[in-house]
Assembly symmetry: C7
Homo-oligomer: 95 residues x 7
């Protein structure tokens, strides 16, 4: 059983505390938007969003920093996911 | 007697408590939008919405997670439905 | 004497209590928008609305469910009408 | 001396109490917008409004119902007028 | 020394009390926007405004009624002017 | 060391009290936007801004009146500048 | 480990107190937006943003003044970064 996001939506899963530490990544914010790091679990196919063609740039397995202002939490089989739009992703975290 | 949604509207029906449990899907939220799971009952034909051509991606029988921020409840023949836009659907739940 | 709606406007009349019961349709809402059922009395000719070409999909006699967020009440010859935009119509109720 | 409205503006004059009664038209509202009946006194030439070509559909002498949310009152030679946009007009009242 | 308005801006000067009386024009308002009569002093050259081509329809010397919601006051050489956009002008007052 | 504005941004410097007097320009306001006079110090190259091509009309040395609603103050080498968009400029002050 | 910004996003790092002094740059603000100086650390590839093609004008190493209204703070390996959009950058500071 899995979540298949539509259009420009991306399903992410929060990185575990331990993993966060290994990253040395701590997130703070100076605005209403609280940035978040998470691993990409599923990616929509893109397509027309509000009349604009959206091409997906992130892929499954990417670690991303996003602004959670519009994210929606979903719990499936005991795991917690967040569904965001690709445009809510600020940056990919690379090694 | 049935609801025939216009354009990009989708009629959904909330999945029963029991079904929800079989899914193992629990929904929580960290924003104003409360995500929801529901079964698709009827799908509009798409077409021009605010000047943008919308193609419908969901189909009758799909289980979807949506953000109920703009959903409208309708009770017909003793059953409760919610009418949403396809763009309010975050993801399809597949087995 | 009659109301001739402009562009994408639609004139509707609320279905009588009795008719509502025969439909078995009860409307509740979980948002600011209160959905409504009504019979279509007159339909605008469509055309350019905010730069977008609008084609009318509803016709006189249709029973529709709409969101009354932006509807305006008009009383003419002792009858009450509501003028809405076609985009405020969520679904057509068919037998 | 007269008001010559620009672009999609329309000058209307409120119908006298007596005339209203002959119409049998009473206006109430269930939203912030208060609908109004009025006679069209002058019509702009249409043209580009916010980048969209607007063609005028109403003509001098039409009785119209409009939403006065954005209307501006002007008093000229002792008479009161209201300047609205054509898109604020909900319907024409025909005999 | 003079004000040369850019793009769709128009410089207007309020008509003197005496002139207003000769017009017989008194302005009241039933909304947040307070309409105003004024004489056009300078007109921008039009051009692209938010991606839309704007052609100027008013000319120096016109008496106009405008909504002062967005007007900015400027005092130059002891005279008071208001800088508005052409789209804030509701109508031209003609004899 | 200098500020090089991007796209449609313009760097302006407030005219000294003395200069203001020589202009005879006093600024007051009847809205939330407080108009301002200033000398243009640097002009961006224009280009695509929100999908619209912007051509710069003001040049270094122009005295301009602007609405400071969105201006940002920057202090560099002891001097105070304001960075605005060209669309915030209401008019050029010419002799 | 590094932040790779998407589309029109730019990763910046606040200039140290000492550097700020060498610049002689002090930032104050007269609006809700607080301008900021920072060094560009990483630049997105540009591309389609809300249907508009965005070309990147800033490059790694540029010192920029930006409005932090929408910036998001990210702490990685003990260093603090801010992720902004290129359109939030007001000007480049050149020697």
């Amino acid at each position: 059983m899995k979540l298949v996001p539509l259009f420009d939506r991306v399903v992410v899963e929060h990185v575990e505390e331990n993993e966060t530490t290994s990253f040395g990544l701590i997130l703070t914010t100076n605005s209403k938007e609280k940035p978040q790091i998470a691993k990409v679990i599923a990616v929509g196919k893109g397509g027309m969003v509000n009349g604009n063609e959206v091409k997906m740039e992130v892929k499954v397995g990417d670690n991303v920093v996003y602004s959670d202002y519009a994210g929606s939490n979903v719990k499936l089989d005991g795991k917690e996911y967040v569904v965001i739009r690709q445009s809510d992703i600020l940056a990919i975290v690379e090694d």
